[in-house]
Symmetry: C2
Subunit: 124 residues, 2 copies
DNA sequence: TGACGGTAGATCGGATCGCGATATAGGTTG
DNA sequence: CAACCTATATCGCGATCCGATCTACCGTCA
């Protein structure tokens, strides 16, 4: 699944799939949005607030709504019936799978980077 | 330090610094490059190979060399004397600090996202 | 020796994406 | 009613990513 993700389908030809870079280009806002939605359906504005308290990042409105449109187009999130003036979005099953893979990979990279930093002072 | 980071100097005006998004725009290749260099100085080509085996991501040459130039301009890495045809780069002290902050933040977001995914099945 | 492939770096053009500015509009509080 | 918060949408600029393409050196295998 998720083959065409970002219009670029090049798998690394090796055995290991590359969840990093699966979203849009190289993660970023998409990761934050999906992670936020993993805690329950939210509309855009609530999402901004949640992301801000969760990651300290304030998503610009352009970034937010364009990312939402992209993610919906990719089937990773879906819009719910709008109440009031809110347009809530929910993580889809595919979105949950993709998010988990992405976060796992990201955590691995972070762990390895931190390991190298701590081990290091990098001789040579 | 790191004030001018990406040609955009807007600090988040609030008290809490936001390590996510500190690089270029929203991390990405920069994170991978810096994490790789945390394991020791490397030249561009070796970096690509290391990143590929570390994260399963193949950085395009354009991405790589442009990112290296940006990171050097930001003082996060520095070029060493070139041997043969190689131009090795090394993580600077500032780069190590920035990388650690970024990876810490990224790991926190990943952990929270995974927690929500596992806790969830997200009612409402 | 000459074709081939891996190493190594650089640059350009096109496409994507992030972001602030801007606009609209309803609700609340003073 | 002014000011501010909620809430969404869109446009344009600039930043960034990426594949293609070029140069160049090296080893090897026919």
């Amino acid at each position: 699944m998720l083959e065409e993700m970002a219009g670029r389908s090049k798998a690394p030809e090796s055995t290991a799939a590359a969840p990093l870079g699966s979203f849009g280009r190289y993660a970023g806002p998409a990761t934050l949005i999906l992670s936020s939605l993993a805690g329950g359906a939210k509309h855009g504005y609530a999402l901004t607030k949640d992301v801000e308290s969760m990651a300290g990042v304030r998503l610009a409105p352009g970034t937010l709504y364009e990312a939402l449109a992209r993610l919906e187009g990719q089937g990773l999130i879906e819009a719910l019936a709008s109440e009031d003036r809110r347009r809530p979005y929910r993580l889809t099953a595919a979105g949950a799978v993709a998010l988990r893979a992405h976060l796992d990979a990201q955590r691995q990279v972070a762990d390895e980077g931190l390991r190298r930093l701590d081990a290091g002072l990098a001789p040579t």
